[in-house]
Symmetry: C2
Subunit: 325 residues, 2 copies
């Protein structure tokens, strides 16, 4: 069997995760990693590290490119650019801009006979799939999404921008009482502060005023002002030892009822030791689907909503029905 | 907008559930219910109850038939027969015979230009989708499925066949300690008796020997012999008052790891006041997909694995991406 030939664009946490994830796939092979940095500087054991500029030279050598850049500045530029030459999978997660990103990719994919899957991962991604599944089955219900316990990179970055802060890690923590209330089926009304609390581990710069830093964090609009926020000051050493992994996860619930008032509670949840490694596994499974759908002639942009589950499985349809149905 | 025209074949608990489920769908309308009984005997408020023999007269009046018979004897005959004239959705759940049922329907659907979805519902169905999703994303892991707490019709029927039993209801109950062990991520080895216990509420016939009935239930091979089984003897009145609803549900877990030994726990669970009403909602949502896929030219047999989630949603693709992604 011909293996699916994969390229990785960007070598941060997610790119490293994809490299690891590919080791678990029998039907895929890594062709090259593309980076904006000096290829030799990555210290990789893998052979083929390429400068980003070399990317067009790999047309016909790579079936699907997995884009591992960030949603803020990388993907809005890279996804359309790479899609001119290759099928792609990205994890674009700036929710408000998804329709625009979709339209851009759809146009470019159709022009260039390529297929682009956007916004794969676990949220958006698997959590979105739980939402559309639950909503489609039960028209009369209420949705709840909780995130965590996990490290929010966006909130950690926001703390690091506060004057006097040397380093920081922020955990988003779902409130157990609220999760239990949802699970009980009572359909509680939950406000922002009811759903999550935010716990921050902060390393101060020398001479910084702890009270001032704490106040500034807690009053930060959008990020912290609407939440119960707990701030701990710790040493850089302690941060490194106890807060250097990137766990995450969360819950999607739908609490619904029939016309006869029978209640249904649906739940999907994830608990992940490593957010980037799990996201990478999702991207890799969906790269398989992109390869298969493109082979059947599909082009343009798609999301996880457009892909049948059979397309992400390494098993044959017969094996899928026998073992998993 | 033209509504999707639905027929119901069979009017037991599931057929009644589909009738209720259709009340919640804005894009569907019920055309007729087909029954083997005397149409007037059903006491229905709905107008169009038809004898089963009248079914072929509704070609061109119904887009999708939802088959609500049982898997033991009804569906193996009815699904192929009805598929000769109509697109169908069934909830065939005799696992060992799914490949054969698939092949039969695939042949008939392709010959008659119709599309048949088999084995929809929640298990097989939504639980199968969780299994294929979790397995496709994490190649290295262990699967666990727990059922309940809920009424098992098969086990209730088995008790009713015991001499001296007038009526019975059996609850399948997942063992909390085992569910907790799986959730903790330790990947326990669980034997049949570790996963579920079976609680039976039994009404004796007059003069029956309770001890003998209890022994016979507890030693019944396949059904009870391998489990911890609790037997309560109650009155018919009590059975009717406290055990006449059909709740069910369960959990699908996958406990997996990355090559770097980071652990991932995935969970999908359902808690349902009414098993037939929820199953009916699933069948109705998937009837929407069958209609759409057949409209695009698809024929033969399919399972939930072959259907993109976008096809079951009443929302437009743009709304899906905006609201649910």
């Amino acid at each position: 069997m011909q293996k699916i030939r994969i390229g990785i664009v960007g070598y941060g946490n997610l790119g490293k995760g994809v490299l690891s994830a590919l080791e678990q796939q029998k039907d895929m092979e890594l062709v090259a990693i593309f980076t904006r940095r000096e290829p030799n500087s990555l210290g990789l054991k893998v052979k083929n590290v390429q400068k980003m500029d070399n990317l067009p030279n790999f047309v016909d050598k790579i079936d699907v490119m997995i884009l591992c850049g960030g949603s803020a500045t990388d993907l809005p530029k890279q996804s359309p650019e790479v899609l001119k030459y290759f099928n792609i999978v990205d994890s674009f997660d700036t929710h408000a801009n998804i329709p625009e990103h979709f339209d851009t990719l759809d146009k470019i994919g159709k022009q260039n006979n390529t297929l682009g899957l956007l916004s794969a991962g676990w949220d958006p991604g698997l959590f979105s799939m739980a939402r559309i599944l639950f909503n489609s089955i039960t028209p009369d219900g209420v949705d709840y999404t909780f995130w965590g316990k996990g490290v929010s990179q966006g909130h950690s970055d926001a703390i690091r921008r506060v004057e006097g802060v040397a380093d920081a890690v922020q955990y988003t923590i779902p409130r157990e009482a609220s999760v239990s209330a949802v699970r009980s089926g009572i359909c509680p009304t939950l406000y922002t502060k009811d759903k999550h609390l935010r716990e921050c581990f902060v390393v101060l710069k020398e001479g910084a005023d702890a009270q001032k830093v704490e106040n500034e964090i807690k009053s930060m609009p959008n990020y912290f002002a609407d939440y119960e926020t707990i701030v701990h000051f710790i040493s850089q050493q302690e941060l490194k030892e106890n807060h250097s992994t990137l766990p995450h996860g969360g819950f999607v619930f739908r609490s619904a009822k029939s016309v006869n008032n029978n209640k249904f509670l649906m739940e999907f949840n994830l608990s992940l030791d490593s957010n980037p490694e799990f996201t990478a596994l999702v991207l890799v499974a969906y790269a398989r689907a992109v390869f298969r759908l493109h082979s059947k002639g599909q082009t343009g942009a798609i999301t996880v909503f457009d892909i049948p589950l059979s397309a992400i499985s390494p098993l044959s349809p017969e094996e899928q029905r026998k073992k998993l149905l």
